[in-house]
């Protein structure tokens, strides 16, 4: 499906049973819908109505990347409206997790559950990483590819058989629109939410942490869960790119949230 958002076309994968429970999946900075491939296709086959947008400047969606988490949350609300979905379970990874959180705070009626993968609050991004991304330096691609996976990931079996995940991430980041990586990282870095904001979240929340995550360490994810009433944590054996590094465990976390 293609949704008009402020004059820009947002392309989204819309698959599964239109009458099934709705699930909105939101990718991270400089990634695209394919980040969710290990989860979106199996869930769609199980009858879930799955919507996976490419955020502007990512994947098939043109236009400049959104510069704030709140702007992405507004765009997600537009996507849900366009799909005729009143409320969905919303899952996000990294930047996408913050956008899901923001959507739940700004449009609570549109969110029936949250699954936050690789999330922390705040989500600080190192100065060198931000500067390299701002300058369009290839070093920023390498930083995201390597820090975004468990250390020495290329020597370990891939979570997606036959795929070299760090190389796949390099190509995804390189393919994002100019400035998209920096916009996403800066949005992560700038996003704040108060304890009062978080306390108002009244839907089931799961925070999925990677035991080898170097970008949003597991303890930071657990600290976030501690600030949201009733939130539970799920630990998976993976780095920050847990959707690809541990696809089955992440799929299980989504299934549980949809039950």
């Amino acid at each position: 499906m293609i949704v008009d958002s402020g004059g820009h076309a947002v392309h989204a994968l819309a698959i599964g049973d239109r009458g099934g429970p709705a699930l909105l999946l939101v990718h991270g900075a400089a990634m695209d819908r394919a980040s969710w491939r290990g989860q979106s296709l199996p869930l769609a086959r199980e009858g879930v109505r799955v919507i996976v947008p490419d955020l502007p400047g990512h994947g098939a969606s043109p236009g400049p990347a959104a510069s704030s988490v709140e702007a992405i949350a507004g765009l997600l609300a537009t996507v849900l409206d366009a799909a005729g979905i009143r409320a969905a379970t919303v899952a996000g990874h990294s930047l996408g997790a913050l956008a899901a959180l923001s959507l739940a705070m700004r449009h609570p009626q549109k969110v029936s559950g949250l699954v936050l993968f690789g999330a922390s609050l705040p989500m600080p991004v190192g100065e060198a990483f931000l500067a390299a991304a701002r300058d369009g330096d290839a070093a920023a691609i390498e930083m995201q590819a390597q820090w975004g996976h468990a250390r020495l990931a290329p020597l370990a079996p891939s979570g997606m058989p036959g795929l070299s995940l760090t190389d796949l991430a390099r190509r995804q980041v390189a393919r994002a629109a100019p400035g998209a990586q920096h916009a996403g990282l800066a949005a992560c870095h700038a996003f704040v939410a108060s304890d009062a904001d978080l306390a108002r979240i009244a839907v089931p929340v799961a925070v999925v942490t990677g035991t080898r995550d170097a970008m949003t360490p597991a303890r930071a994810g657990e600290a976030l869960a501690g600030r949201i009433p009733g939130a539970r944590t799920v630990r998976v054996d993976a780095g920050h790119s847990m959707l690809a590094e541990a696809p089955q465990a992440c799929l299980a976390a989504l299934r549980e949230a949809l039950e």
């Binding site: 296709l41 086959r45 060198a128 920023a140 290329p154 070299s164 190509r171």
Partner: protein, 380 residues
């Protein structure tokens, strides 16, 4: 300003640690482990491993052009004795044009509106011509056609064609990669760099009706569309996935690849220099030698050396070539190149004065002694 980034693992390390987690007790991991490691060595996003090179080329074309189409390939692929397109020719509606690989104009001139793929090889055999990958890749990019490069004879230790603009890379694993001549298999690596949407030439990747579950492969993943269709739709249907034993053998071979390639390269260079200075030899081809027609390209593209193949002509003609082969003791015949043993052959047959050596891993002095003795015998 330049920013310092974490350093990726060196190919030598990726190769040395290839067989971890894929032992004989984990046969279901062996093929995927080989695919993942070859992809990482090439800097590709993933790979598909097949039973042989002809099967890998069949997979590439079944993935890209199930409706048929046109292929432009280097003339080295027109060899009937080793027809790497033998399986692809059986696919419906494919036509092939073979071009002089060293003439960029020939590549550009052969492209048609229905061309789906360009196919070259880093290093030809028996005459070790070097493909100017950046030049042909630029032609491919301008035309919106992917370039597949067979890099079997250089391996990722000497050349990474994706870094030079190629889009797909092919490796036969029997010889150089595996280090043995008693197993076969091939790996097709996707660089994830080709823009299938902008090209618009490959309906099988673009049309929802050709995708899985009504989703076009490019909508499934813009970066990995080719690889996903190859692995998930085409390879299972063709039934040519590599056997676990062959994959594990190749992984074991990869562990020593960096050391073996260095020795292959060093021995080839020693033999080429010796032959060039010998009265009984009228011409030597090895791209590492100054004066070789491809020396400039080889120096630019292959800083770690230009492979283990040496071709030469005997001044004494076909008769001398026959005598030479008969007199050689250390060099074996009727064996594919790339194993531990040095191999000699007469690619042009009994009427040709050309001899091709694939340098093995023996000590260079022993190879030189054997060659010197045989050249003397051939001159009698």
């Amino acid at each position: 300003m330049a920013h310092s980034s974490p350093t990726p693992l060196h190919p030598d390390t990726l190769a040395a640690r290839a067989a971890e987690g894929a032992g004989p007790l984990a046969p279901d991991r062996a093929a995927a482990a080989l695919e993942e490691r070859m992809a990482a060595l090439e800097g590709g996003i993933g790979a598909a491993a097949c039973t042989g090179t002809a099967q890998a080329l069949e997979l590439a074309l079944a993935t890209l052009a199930p409706e048929g189409g046109h292929v432009v390939a280097a003339s080295g692929f027109a060899d009937d004795a080793d027809d790497r397109f033998a399986r692809a020719r059986a696919l419906p509606g494919l036509r092939f044009t073979f071009v002089d690989a060293r003439d960029p104009g020939a590549w550009a001139g052969a492209i048609e509106s229905g061309t789906k793929l360009l196919v070259g090889e880093t290093l030809a055999d028996p005459s070790p011509d070097v493909l100017d990958v950046p030049a042909v890749a630029a032609i491919a990019e301008r035309a919106g056609i992917p370039l597949l490069v067979d890099a079997t004879r250089t391996t990722p230790m000497l050349s990474r064609p994706l870094d030079h603009g190629a889009h797909l890379v092919l490796h036969g694993i029997a010889g150089w990669i595996g280090g043995r001549s008693d197993a076969d298999g091939a790996v097709l690596v996707d660089g994830g760099r080709f823009d299938w949407v902008a090209s618009g030439r490959h309906r099988a990747l673009l049309d929802a009706s050709a995708g899985e579950g009504g989703i076009a492969w490019v909508d499934d993943s813009p970066v990995a569309a080719f690889l996903l269709r190859a692995r998930e739709a085409c390879l299972p249907r063709l039934g040519t996935a590599i056997a676990p034993e062959a994959a594990f053998g190749a992984l074991r071979g990869l562990e020593t690849l960096s050391l073996r390639m260095a020795r292959h390269v060093a021995n080839a260079r020693v033999l080429a220099d010796f032959l060039a200075a010998h009265d009984a030899v009228s011409r030597v081809r090895h791209p590492s030698r100054p004066g070789d027609p491809d020396h400039e390209i080889a120096t630019r593209l292959y800083p770690r050396g230009c492979g283990g193949l040496v071709a030469f002509d005997l001044a004494g003609g076909p008769g001398a070539a026959g005598k030479l082969l008969g007199a050689l003791g250390l060099f074996v015949r009727d064996t594919p190149p790339g194993s531990a043993r040095s191999v000699v052959s007469r690619p042009g047959g009994a009427t040709s004065a050309t001899v091709r050596i694939a340098a093995g891993l023996e000590h260079g002095d022993d190879l030189l002694d054997d060659l010197a003795r045989a050249l003397k015998a051939a001159a009698r």
